[in-house]
């Protein structure tokens, strides 16, 4: 019957889980006890949303593995990194011979509108993925008013990925906007 305690909010379990487990060890395993626990879990969730004075939104499993999240974000944004990097080397810096072999790769990467969108959207996804483990939002009632506070945990690896992904997204967005304007003129 202890598995029913998993249905309670995490913060509630952290506060009362051990005591309630001890209490359950003393009680018979009857349907009425199970139903009461289920009802209690529903009420605890409702209270955690609006009834209690404090609520914390934690990053969940990602928060325990920020480095994995940073690596995942880097992986997500790698195609955009390659595309922007290759295009800069070939067209902006004009490396000798680079255009010839980069052009087919670039054409393949932007063959469809969907691929374009994926290249542009990947940095945004990467930013969210890298920053999610670092953010904790607290809601609380002080002097009758609800206030929210955002706490950011500084982790250089994640913040570096955020900066890289944001810069890539900005460069690509500017590039697309410039192309669009040039085509229009």
């Amino acid at each position: 019957m202890r598995w029913l305690l998993r249905l309670y909010p995490r913060s509630w379990r952290a506060r009362y889980g051990v005591e309630l487990e001890a209490l359950l060890d003393e009680l018979p395993r009857t349907p009425s006890v199970a139903i009461d626990l289920l009802r209690g879990a529903v009420v605890a969730h409702i209270n955690s949303i609006g009834g209690s004075r404090h609520m914390t939104v934690e990053p969940g499993p990602l928060g325990r593995h920020p480095t994995i999240a940073a690596l995942g974000a880097l992986l997500v944004t790698t195609p955009t990194l390659l595309f922007v990097g290759g295009s800069l080397l070939a067209y902006q810096l004009g490396l000798p011979g680079m255009v010839a072999w980069w052009e087919p790769i670039s054409a393949a990467m932007t063959a469809s509108r969907l691929a374009d969108l994926a290249l542009l959207g990947a940095p945004a996804v990467a930013v969210l993925l890298a920053v999610a483990p670092l953010v904790r939002v607290e809601f609380g009632a002080a002097t009758g008013e609800w206030r929210a506070a955002v706490h950011l945990r500084p982790r250089p690896a994640n913040l570096l990925v955020v900066l890289v992904a944001a810069a890539l997204g900005a460069v690509l967005a500017l590039h697309i906007a410039a192309e669009f304007l040039l085509e229009g003129s």
Binding site: E26, L38, V43, S52
Partner: protein, 104 residues
């Protein structure tokens, strides 16, 4: 349903009454309530009431003994219970008086 009408089967009130007799942990509160009110509080109901009372500052936890943590009334909790018992007492006195009058 007189208990429901008077609100005296509110789990929070029952927990406060139980703790008025001294600090108790969850299982002891449950047994005490069963003894004085004849009601079997479920574990989810009991800890829901404990959580709300603690949030409202009416009870407070003491140092845990093993996996069990006793709770005790706070001063505002004692005050709230006193008010509620007085209120219920007035309702019960009125009811008894009127019943006596109706019977005579």
């Amino acid at each position: 349903m007189p208990d429901a009408i008077l609100g005296s089967n509110d789990p929070r009130l029952l927990v406060l009454i139980s703790l008025a007799g001294g600090p108790r942990h969850g299982h002891a509160i449950m047994l005490d309530v069963a003894g004085f009110a004849g009601l079997q509080l479920g574990p989810g109901t009991l800890y829901g009431a404990i959580g709300r009372l603690e949030d409202d500052g009416l009870i407070e936890p003491l140092t845990a003994v093993g996996r069990r943590r006793p709770y005790r009334l706070t001063a505002p909790g004692r005050e709230a219970l006193t008010d509620r018992v007085r209120q219920l007492g007035r309702a019960i006195d009125t009811g008894a008086r009127r019943l006596r009058r109706a019977a005579s």
